[in-house]
């Protein structure tokens, strides 16, 4: 990793000396008319473009296969696909952009959009030039590509949380169906939390210090905040907006959301404190239910040796809501009109042909592709949540506010709740203060 940092620093710093300081090599914004420029391009030589994404594992294989399929389907555009972890990919994107060799297509999440729009690196006109129709896309995903009435990308897919449950363990515990609300969830989780002597959490003599099987698991990092966000929305409360300059949190509602999650660990003792990889615990059969995203479906399908299924994220408060995010494809500014045209061709094709993307557990944002997609086991629960999924805002400082790495306001809040069992009202106060510091910075 030190070497990676050194390389990145070198790129950044050397480029600052030889290109950035000169201030003249930054790619310029290209008008929607870029498409017309393609007519002048050579009829024989294909236009080569670079496409950066942040997928790893099974997702990466599926995306690589799609790119290869595109390359084989025509001879005008050839795409070179590069995938790194998201944050490293974005650093590479910006370093390449600064050096004047920008990638032609970049994938990102909706909440990351604000930062790049603020930097002025995205070509909104190229997206406008595609003449996309809102009705062809899932509404939440479509809305996620628009910031201040300007569209900056084409929606690719939607991700959400939902409940994975082990049907064999449910059957053994005498539970008929997946929980849908708070009472059912706690009751099921207690029955499914079993100690070394075989007693569950509802029985007297249950030994909470020697639990062999937990009832309910979830990631206790930034994803625990994502659940807090969902539970705030379940109370009809969402204080986060695209253009917020200060934040004032409703202590009652935020605390109630945090308290529910804390209680699962410290009051009901059905969730393992500090759980690192709930989906692996679920696959191993040591946790009966977990909250995780649809990106895990492919892995669970291939690894689980028991009967399992998914269910919608339980409704704990007065209305349904679940955290989600959408991925989109954006076109960075580029003086080369041929490359912009080629990028337009590619992302439109990818969107229209994203049915195969669903095989990795993703929900294509393109409605026709979604309908044509082969339904991977477990996807139905996620599809059922599309009407009430809630996204984090595309604020220009969202990446900092909602960061998954320390120091991060939401990570501190989530870990204070899940790992330290601190007073939710105090956590809320600190969260508000930490976010306001970022907003003021």
């Amino acid at each position: 990793m030190k070497k990676i940092i050194a390389v990145l620093a070198s790129i950044a710093m050397v480029s600052s000396l030889f290109s950035g300081c000169a201030g003249g090599s930054q790619p310029a914004s290209t008008a929607s008319g870029a498409a017309s420029g393609a007519a002048s391009s050579s009829a024989s030589a294909p236009v080569s473009i670079n496409y950066y994404g942040g997928w790893t594992g099974g997702d990466l294989d599926k995306m690589s296969a799609l790119v290869q399929k595109f390359n084989e389907s025509q001879s005008e555009v050839q795409v070179t696909f590069t995938s790194l972890q998201w944050s490293q990919m974005f650093t590479k994107f910006l370093a390449d952009y600064q050096a004047g060799s920008t990638p032609d297509v970049v994938a990102m999440h909706t909440f990351e959009l604000g930062q790049f729009v603020d930097m002025g690196v995205l070509n909104a006109d190229a997206i406008k030039g595609l003449n996309l129709n809102a009705a062809d896309y899932i509404k939440t995903a479509w809305d996620g590509t628009i910031l201040n009435d300007v569209q900056y990308g084409i929606p690719l897919d939607v991700n959400m949380h939902a409940l994975y449950y082990n049907k064999d363990l449910f059957k053994a515990a005498g539970i008929a169906s997946a929980p849908t609300n708070k009472e059912e969830l706690i009751a099921a989780a207690q029955k499914l939390t079993v100690d070394a002597n075989g007693k569950n959490a509802t029985e007297s003599g249950f030994d909470a210090a020697n639990i062999k099987q937990y009832g309910f698991g979830f990631l206790q990092n930034h994803h625990a905040f994502y659940q807090t966000f969902a539970l705030m929305n379940q109370q009809g409360y969402n204080p986060f907006t695209d253009n917020m300059t200060t934040l004032s949190l409703d202590s009652g509602k935020t605390s109630a959301a945090l308290q529910f999650l804390e209680d699962l660990v410290y009051k009901y003792k059905v969730t393992p404190a500090g759980e690192k990889s709930p989906i692996d615990d679920f696959k191993a059969g040591s946790v009966a239910m977990v909250i995780d995203g649809n990106w895990q479906l492919s892995g669970v399908n291939s690894a689980a040796k028991f009967d399992w299924d998914t269910a919608a994220y339980p409704q704990i408060f007065s209305q349904k809501a679940v955290w989600g995010a959408a991925e989109l494809l954006a076109i960075p500014n580029n003086k080369d009109a041929d490359k912009v045209k080629a990028a337009q061709t590619f992302i439109k094709w990818l969107s229209d042909n994203s049915a195969e993307w669903a095989l990795s557990g993703q929900i294509p944002a393109n409605v026709k592709a979604q309908q044509a997609a082969t339904k991977i086991k477990g996807i139905d629960a996620y599809n059922s949540e599309l009407d009430y999924v809630k996204f984090l805002p595309a604020h220009k400082k969202s990446v900092k506010i909602f960061s998954s790495a320390a120091p991060s306001p939401i990570l501190t809040a989530a870990q204070n709740a899940m790992l330290n069992g601190k007073d939710p009202a105090e956590i809320t106060k600190q969260l508000e203060s930490d976010i306001n510091k970022v907003l003021a910075g």
């Binding site: 030190k2 050397v14 600052s16 870990q415």
Partner: protein
């Protein structure tokens, strides 16, 4: 190492001496420079250049995509009021205190042990160095599994012995200590090998003389081994300081600076600021702070472990 220093010192004297040996011819000097050129080029482009650029960037505001704007010492002023930066300094110093003494003392003891004549000595030396040659990210992942609160092997045995599970990486009071244990495990073999090289450079005649004079083993260790090991100790302390203060990989993999900010070290904060938040100027300013702290530490270390010229 001391042998190498002595022999290179002798070589240098030979090269500069006009008595008994011919002076180095100009053509030989050019050839020597050519041999040095590849490393020099790499050093200038990938080490010295970026380092100087980093110092320069610390006076700018730069998000990596746009142009740089000069802001004077504002990035350094910001450090004064940035509580996360203060936390990162404190964590770095605590981490340094947690790791440096064990890494020096344990490796010295281990080196003394492996310096004895015994069967399986070479196998032991190889085993000792294995943790160091493992890729840091792999080390982090392995220990992540071992430290798992609920299903990790350490807590399994602790529970077997009647103890309570320790939240190794998820308790803000324990996480930094847990990471320190991993680093000690990881670097111990490397320091041991360095000390071993130093021990083997001490002439046996000195030990034989002390034996004849009736010195105890403890006296021999204090009066002969430690003083003659001073150049090696100085080097090991310097390298350990640099390695621990600049530590990034294992923390990135194991805790990512959490829980909260309990394992947020200066280099971790530098990375987050520069490469996740794209505040390249502020990240560079933190880099300058790391450099200053290291220089101060090495200065202090040189005061305490001053190596006499010609040793």
């Amino acid at each position: 190492m001391s042998n190498r220093q002595m022999s290179s010192g002798a070589a240098a004297r030979n090269l500069t001496s006009t008595k008994g040996t011919k002076p180095l011819r100009a053509s030989q000097g050019k050839i020597a420079a050519l041999f040095l050129l590849p490393y020099l080029a790499v050093f200038l482009v990938f080490r010295l250049g970026p380092s100087i650029a980093g110092i320069a960037i610390s006076f700018f505001k730069w998000d990596l995509a746009g142009s740089l704007s000069f802001i004077g010492i504002n990035n350094f002023k910001r450090m004064l009021t940035d509580s996360n930066f203060h936390t990162s300094i404190l964590n770095t110093l605590i981490f340094f205190v947690l790791t440096l003494p064990p890494l020096i003392l344990l490796s010295l003891l281990l080196a003394a042990f492996f310096n004895q004549k015994m069967r399986g000595r070479n196998v032991g030396r190889v085993v000792a160095i294995i943790p160091y040659v493992l890729i840091p990210a792999v080390v982090g992942i392995i220990w992540n599994w071992m430290y798992d609160n609920n299903f990790g092997i350490l807590n399994f045995y602790i529970k077997k012995m009647g103890g309570s599970a320790i939240h190794w990486l998820t308790n803000e009071h324990v996480a930094l200590i847990s990471v320190a244990i991993v680093i000690i495990w990881s670097f111990l073999g490397y320091n041991t090998i360095l000390f071993l090289a130093g021990l083997q450079g001490i002439p046996k005649e000195l030990y034989e003389a002390s034996l004849i004079d009736g010195a105890t083993r403890f006296q021999t260790f204090m009066k002969i081994t430690l003083p003659l090991l001073k150049p090696t100790t100085s080097m090991v302390v310097t390298l350990t300081m640099v390695n621990t203060v600049q530590l990034f990989d294992q923390i990135y993999v194991m805790t990512n600076g959490g829980p909260g900010t309990s394992t947020l070290t200066m280099v971790q904060y530098l990375y987050t600021s520069a490469f996740q938040n794209y505040e390249m100027g502020y990240g560079s300013a933190i880099e300058v702070a790391v450099l200053i702290i290291l220089v101060i530490m090495i200065f202090i270390q040189n005061k305490f472990l001053k190596v006499d010229e010609g040793v």
